[in-house]
């Protein structure tokens, strides 16, 4: 089952910033993200896979070759929709306090249902 990604403006901005910044790996993250969506996030999720659970049903999408991360959660409790709310380049391999706080904020948005889709 494919996964539809709903991305916040912040995620789109960060994806574009990262794609422009990292010339050596240009476009790779976006291509991976779309492939994960086309084939369904479920297959790519796990402890040592690109999509990992952080906490409170918040997940991160990332690489082994870089520290760029997309943070979000599943919309309907299954893998049909992924709500991508935040994205950033980690400052190190360990989560910093500020990065933990950002994940907490995403968790808070999820818990309160404080988001809505913008149909195009």
């Amino acid at each position: 089952m494919a996964t539809v990604i709903w991305g916040s403006q912040r995620v789109l901005e960060q994806l574009e910033w990262y794609q422009t910044k990292k010339e050596t790996h240009r476009g790779q993250f976006v291509k991976k993200l779309l492939r994960y969506a086309e084939t369904g996030f479920a297959q790519w999720q796990g402890a040592d896979r690109p999509i990992r659970h952080e906490w409170d049903q918040v997940f991160r999408i990332g690489d082994t070759s870089n520290l760029f991360r997309v943070i979000g959660f599943y919309g309907a409790g299954n893998h049909a929709e992924f709500i991508a709310l935040d994205a950033y380049l980690k400052s190190g391999t360990k989560l910093s306090a500020a990065e933990r706080e950002r994940i907490d904020r995403v968790s808070d948005v999820r818990a309160k249902g404080a988001w809505r889709k913008v149909e195009q």
Binding site: A2, T3, V4, I5, W6, G7, S8, Q9, R10, L12, E13, L15, E16, W17, Q19, R26, G27, Q28, V30, K31, K32, L34, R35, A37, E38, T39, Q43, W44, D48, R49, P50, D63, T64, S65, I83, L85, D86, E101, R102, R105, V106, D108, V109, K112, A114, W115, R116, K117, V118, E119, Q120
Partner: protein, 136 residues
């Protein structure tokens, strides 16, 4: 807040990069590995042990972050009970559509057709939050 040009622009830019077909091929391999791991109920460590490679290398393959050799790819897939075959298809990027020798000169490869998925790109839609996500 900066203006972004949208996901379609990002996808077109990504597809236009010199290594675009290379990352597609690595994703094909990664997808084949995760599907076989799930089908067999194996962990990545178990696969690493069975094919005599480091778990960290298997992890890099699954993240499509390793430019491994054909021999190594075959070794990993063989441990999973499958064998890779090369499939050549026309390059779908616009620059190659009018080339008379496109099938022969601009090849894109993929692993086992049995691992291919139905066509169709899922939507990437925008959303808004009614709560702040933190400082810019």
């Amino acid at each position: 807040m900066n203006e972004h040009r949208g996901i379609l622009h990002l996808v077109q830019d990504a597809d236009a990069q010199p290594d675009a077909a290379g990352i597609d091929l690595r994703l094909d391999l990664a997808h084949a590995i995760v599907r076989r791991l799930d089908a067999l109920g194996w962990s990545q460590n178990e696969l690493a042990q069975r094919c005599g490679l480091k778990p960290s290398f298997i992890s890099r393959l699954i993240h499509s972050d390793s430019n491994c050799s054909f021999s190594t790819a075959a070794r990993v897939l063989s441990a999973l009970g499958v064998r890779p075959r090369l499939t050549i298809v026309p390059d779908p990027t616009p620059d190659h559509q009018s080339h008379p020798l496109q099938e022969a000169t601009h090849a894109q490869t993929s692993f086992e057709e049995t691992f291919s998925e139905p066509a169709g790109r899922p939507a990437f839609g925008p959303l808004q939050t009614s709560r702040p996500l933190g400082a810019e």
